[in-house]
């Protein structure tokens, strides 16, 4: 029987999860800044346990168009992870990477999707390697799967995974700053045993 119940999580566990989120998002920001060769600051991320029916609206509008990148985790930790950013943020990143005008809002083409997938790969890779380093656990990630759609529809995928465990999802919201704010959100979805594995590895 798993020790952790997400609906009755205590403050110590919560602080640990927040700190993991903080370090992971920090490394992800550094990796992204290097890829784009631009200066990116990161605000202190907000970490929250959010009820499903408020998940999408706690991030943006349910029907706002967002880019979602989803990958499966295997190894000492099993589960999945998602990185999501607003469409406007994705445009900023892709334009920068492709050397286009910053204001360009043309629909994404095949090349842009590849670029976004690569951005997702780097961000989630940096996040996971810090989680792995921190916990000394082996984590292997699948290739990233990318989709662009309404926020609520994309969030249904991690929400369903959390739904098997409880009625809330753990959300880490990061704001990358430059001249233009880029908003990104991490959702880590370990399976129930993996929560215990993570916390045990940290001596809790």
């Amino acid at each position: 029987m798993a020790k952790v119940n997400l609906d009755e999580i205590d403050n110590t566990y919560y602080d640990v999860l927040r700190e993991i989120g903080n370090i992971g998002a920090g490394n992800a920001t550094t990796a992204l800044a290097q890829l784009l060769n631009m200066k990116l600051d990161m605000r202190v991320p907000k970490v929250a346990l959010v009820e499903f029916n408020k998940l999408a609206e706690s991030i943006c509008g349910e029907e706002d168009i967002v880019v979602g990148i989803y990958l499966f985790l295997e190894g000492d930790i099993n589960g999945s992870m998602m990185f999501m950013m607003e469409e406007t943020s994705a445009h900023v990143l892709v334009n920068h990477l492709m050397g286009r005008e910053a204001e360009n809002q043309d629909p994404f083409n095949e090349m842009d999707y590849s670029a976004l997938q690569e951005i997702g790969n780097i961000i989630t890779g940096a996040y996971l390697s810090s989680l792995s380093g921190l916990t000394n656990l082996y984590i292997n990630a699948s290739i990233p799967y990318l989709t662009v759609d309404m926020a609520a529809a994309i969030l249904s995928v991690p929400a369903i995974e959390f739904g098997k465990l409880g009625d809330k999802a753990l959300l880490i919201q990061t704001e990358f700053g430059d001249d233009i704010a880029i908003n990104g959100y991490f959702i880590l979805i370990p399976d129930m045993q993996s929560y215990d594995v993570i916390l045990t590895s940290l001596g809790l």
């Binding site: 499903f52 999945s80 990318l146 995928v157 369903i160 465990l165 009625d167």
Partner: protein, 163 residues
């Protein structure tokens, strides 16, 4: 003035006429609109998972196809709908990411399994499905109008559908 009632994820509500009822951005979840054409009482459930008996933490009826549909029927009957006249229109159950065979097969097919479980639950209760817009790989916002029985489906970059 008719009101638009909003249903969240893992949520359900009844909708007395002349109101309309909506849920935004269905992904792999399924939206089940039930309707009594005589009293014009409608209801909408936004379920996330197929089967409450497979999950330990199952206190929220609205989360599951099996318990969610039963609960919605009960609530509609309580405000005067007839269980025997109810008909259904369903939407959602998409596969949002083009997952390949690797990874968790449960996650892979959850949209499809939600649709199957929805159909089974409706069939068990003797509720006929008049129309559906399910599967594929995109999100759907749905609106059900109690006055007309119309189910409107909106998706990104696609024409509005009426079923």
């Amino acid at each position: 003035m008719p009101e638009m009632i909003k249903v969240g994820m893992a949520d359900l509500k009844v909708c007395p006429p002349p109101n309309a009822i909506t849920t935004l951005g269905l992904g792999s979840c399924v939206g089940i609109a039930l309707y009594d054409p005589i009293t014009k009482i409608a209801g909408l459930a936004h379920i996330m998972l197929p089967d409450s008996t497979q999950i330990r933490n199952n206190t929220n009826n609205a989360k599951f196809a099996d318990t969610g549909i039963k609960e919605l029927v009960d609530q509609m009957a309580r405000i005067g709908a007839s269980r025997f006249r109810l008909v259904a229109k369903i939407a959602g159950g998409a596969q949002m990411f083009a997952f390949q065979s690797s990874g968790n097969s449960d996650t892979l097919r959850v949209g499809e399994r939600n649709v199957q479980a929805t159909k089974k639950a409706l069939n068990d209760l003797g509720i006929r499905i008049l129309a559906e817009d399910t599967g594929l790989n995109y999100g759907r916002t749905v609106e059900f109008y109690s006055e007309t029985g119309e189910f409107i489906i909106k998706s990104v970059g696609k024409p509005i559908k009426k079923i």
